[in-house]
């Protein structure tokens, strides 16, 4: 969060300086790598604490919109528990960039998500006991994203985005002794790199 708070005003300032410059619209596939902070509210927010997350998306422009898919990884801390929970989230997205000829390129995205939540195997983090539970709770949801790309070149942009969405999972977490929790709201803030590997052509 601290890095994000630091980067945001800096990017806004730089964008204001350069925002008037015209650039050439980019085409071709777009890759986005981002780090950020993900937190939850709603029912799921009662047991899962926020954590640093990472995300990868691949997109392809089709006329004025972008179609794509990707994955998101996060290891949630738990309220009142020592263990952590792992979440892998896949998404399909439809995006719409504005001002495609400007240095500052805002965009919106709608995403259909599929996530898998499970107790994280602590063996990998120095724990001695093998996690015998093989519990996975999965389900679908949606997410809305607003963000902006700060164009560095034909090949790359800095990407800043904010997203929020809702989801439900099944089975609920009662089997894990966490109550009948099967839905939640997920929020995240990301800073990353948007990359046109074919130089935007």
């Amino acid at each position: 969060m601290r890095a994000a708070r630091t980067a945001a005003p800096a990017l806004v300032a730089a964008a204001l300086l350069l925002g008037a410059s015209a650039v050439e619209a980019q085409t071709g596939p777009l890759f986005r790598f981002a780090f950020g902070w993900q937190d939850m509210s709603g029912d799921m927010g009662e047991v899962l604490d926020g954590a640093v997350d990472a995300e990868f998306s691949i997109m392809y422009p089709v006329k004025a919109i972008r179609l794509g898919a990707g994955a998101n990884w996060v290891s949630f801390a738990m309220d009142d528990f020592e263990e952590s929970w792992s979440q892998v989230r896949f998404h399909f997205l439809v995006g719409y960039p504005y001002q495609i000829n400007d240095w500052l390129r805002p965009y919106v995205e709608g995403r259909a998500t599929y996530r898998r939540l499970r107790p994280e195997d602590d063996r990998f983090y120095g724990g001695e006991e093998e996690l015998l539970r093989d519990f996975v709770s999965s389900g679908t949801g949606f997410e809305g994203v607003v963000g902006t790309e700060f164009i560095l070149s034909r090949a790359a942009s800095i990407d800043v985005s904010f997203a929020g969405g809702a989801f439900s999972v099944s089975p609920d977490l009662s089997e894990e002794g966490l109550g009948a929790i099967d839905s939640g709201l997920a929020w995240r803030f990301h800073v990353g790199i948007a990359w046109f590997p074919t130089n935007g052509r």
């Binding site: 800096a10 954590a51 990884w73 070149s153």
Partner: protein, 586 residues
């Protein structure tokens, strides 16, 4: 955010912003003056793609009348500063150089747009490409390498048997945990560490190799791609043996597959022949096939590389054998002898000699390489052998009418995985090679090499006690080690046929992880003797032969209880051979 953080946060991007603007005003600051693609289009100047294999030449199927507009690095919006090109993947203007062939129409190659007016020959578009017509594209190479990790992670995540291992539960937490913990050794099976990982490294390697990079640049990609997987592709601790095998072995396997797939490709072919060639090359080298599909080279008709070694070398020997093999194994510790038995089984092997060490004109890695494989039929361990030797550097020592001698630096890739023993790893050797022609039909070749096994593995009785931190998946049956050794070889050639081929190798391996548990040293001396004779059978593409191999392992354990263990594995095989593309080898 404190005052200091605010100042930094505002100053850095603003400084960057001014740099961007200043650069934008200056425009392209280095390199030859080049007509941009946009400028050409606006002026109605035809675009002709440059570089070997892409420039229209007399008689080629692609000419100025059929221009292919391809953007060049110089066609990038001048508002983009050259200094950022390294970071964001844009080819810098500076390395762009004229590479057009002088015999091609419109290939002025002077990088000037002077006189580029209507009615004059079209100006050569200056785009650097490799000999296969591929521009250097860091972005696409990096993305392909990334997908080479992303897709295996998806496999681990969604396939039930793999998901149960929980190694796909990656997150920024696991990445930080792995980076903080550092390197460990793993206990994977021999074929996983010494074959599967090099094959995975080949994907990273060819992501770069097929995008305009050479051997060394692609090797760096394999190194980085492997590191990325080790730190961030799974929750296991980073494995140093995986990193070595994937990076170094990936370069050997990758370059071998790049060269062999080059023999299948034909840029001038059309129709179904072209389709089958592209499919064949795709199956041999999927990463390269993917690149050719994405870039359109798979369907574009243009010239093949000019130098034979970039496609089909002047000298090529391809020998396929089918036969029966019998191996036995015996181990001895002091007065105790254990007969491990052995049984006969059939096999198929492929031996490929690409190019000739004696014809090397260029300092280009793997302009000469040998490949030896053996597939065991009806055996648990199917792939019994994969051996690659490729030149990295060479120097002529002497040259007379009937003899030549050279000094050659060779990359060694060894993988032998049989029921009786396991031996393999990544190494390099400095080899002295001499060939003497006794007559027009008869030649002798001999060589002597000093070898260094950078990291190798050999079966060991006490490797199960290895210190392997983190998750134990199995008990490892082989040691990891490093060491020096030597190799000598002899060949008798008649009419280009390799009648007799013999070699002897001795290799020391000092155990780095395995039997050296609790601080006790262990060492292995491995010796391998091989004698092979092949005789033509009338119709000269066919032959019959016999081979004798002897594998000896002397393992020395510091522990008094273990002492010394010897293993002796003699192997006999008889076979028929077929040489579909036999030429003079070596």
């Amino acid at each position: 955010m404190g005052l200091r953080g605010s100042i930094i946060a505002l100053t850095v991007p603003l400084t960057l912003g001014f740099a961007l603007r200043a650069s934008a005003q200056e425009g392209p600051s280095a390199g030859p003056s080049v007509v941009t693609a946009e400028a050409r289009a606006s002026e109605g100047i035809p675009l002709v793609r440059g570089g070997p294999g892409l420039v229209a030449s007399p008689g080629s199927r692609e000419g100025p009348d059929d221009p292919v507009p391809v953007p060049s690095p110089a066609a990038v919006n001048p508002a983009l500063l050259p200094g950022w090109s390294f970071v964001v993947g844009l080819p810098s203007p500076r390395p762009v150089r004229p590479v057009g062939r002088s015999d091609a129409p419109g290939t002025a190659g002077n990088g000037s747009d002077d006189g580029a007016t209507a009615g004059e020959p079209p100006v050569q578009e200056e785009v650097w490409t490799d000999v296969w017509g591929q521009e250097k594209n860091f972005g696409l190479a990096a993305v392909e390498a990334y997908l080479g990790n992303f897709l295996p992670w998806v496999f681990n995540e969604v396939v039930p048997g793999r998901a149960a291992l929980k190694i796909s539960q990656i997150s920024p937490r696991s990445w930080l945990n792995n980076l903080e913990h550092g390197w460990e050794w793993d206990d994977n099976a021999f074929q996983v560490n010494h074959f599967a990982h090099p094959f995975q490294g080949n994907i990273y390697y060819n992501a770069a190799r097929s995008n305009g990079y050479g051997y060394w640049g692609s090797f760096l990609f394999a190194t980085a791609g492997s590191f990325h997987w080790e730190c961030c592709g799974e929750t296991h601790f980073m494995s140093v043996n995986d990193w070595y095998n994937t990076a170094i072995g990936g370069a050997a396997v990758g370059e071998m597959l790049y060269r062999t797939s080059s023999m299948v490709l034909d840029n001038t072919a059309t129709g179904s022949e072209r389709a089958w060639r592209e499919i064949g090359a795709f199956l041999m080298n999927p990463t390269r096939g993917f690149t050719r599909l994405v870039t359109g080279n798979a369907s574009r008709v243009y010239a093949n590389p000019e130098h034979p070694n970039d496609r089909i070398p002047n000298r090529l020997e391809n020998q396929i054998s089918f036969g029966v093999r019998k191996a036995t194994s015996e181990r001895r510790a002091g007065e105790i002898t254990v007969d491990d038995g052995g049984e006969a089984h059939s096999f198929v092997d492929l031996q490929l000699v690409f190019g000739s060490l004696f014809d090397l004109e260029r300092q280009k890695p793997f302009d000469f390489f040998t490949l030896a494989t053996q597939v065991n039929l009806r055996q648990e361990k199917g792939l019994g052998k994969l051996q690659i030797r490729g030149n990295l550097w060479h120097k002529d020592l002497s040259l007379t009418d009937n003899s030549v001698s050279k000094l050659i630096l060779v990359q060694d890739f060894d993988y032998e995985n049989t029921e009786a023993f396991e031996f393999g790893g990544q190494g390099a050797s400095l080899m002295y090679l001499k060939r003497t022609d006794r007559s027009e039909r008869t030649s002798f070749v001999w060589n002597a090499a000093a070898t260094w096994m950078i990291m190798g593995g050999v079966n060991s009785e006490f490797a199960i006690l290895a210190d392997v931190e983190g998750i134990r998946e199995r008990l490892r049956e082989y040691d990891f080690g490093t060491g020096l050794g030597g190799r000598v070889g002899f060949q008798f050639l008649r009419d280009g046929y390799r009648w007799i081929d013999g070699s002897y190798r001795i290799q020391h391996l000092y155990t780095l992880n395995g039997s050296n548990f609790n601080g006790r040293d262990s060492n292995h001396i491995v010796q391998m003797l091989r004698l092979r004779a092949v005789f033509p059978l009338g119709y000269r593409r066919f032959g019959a032969g016999a081979e004798y191999e002897l594998f000896l392992r002397d393992s020395f354990f510091e522990s008094e209880q273990f002492g010394k263990i010897e293993q002796r594995v003699p192997r006999w095989q008889i076979f028929f051979t077929w040489n579909p593309t036999r030429n003079v080898g070596n």
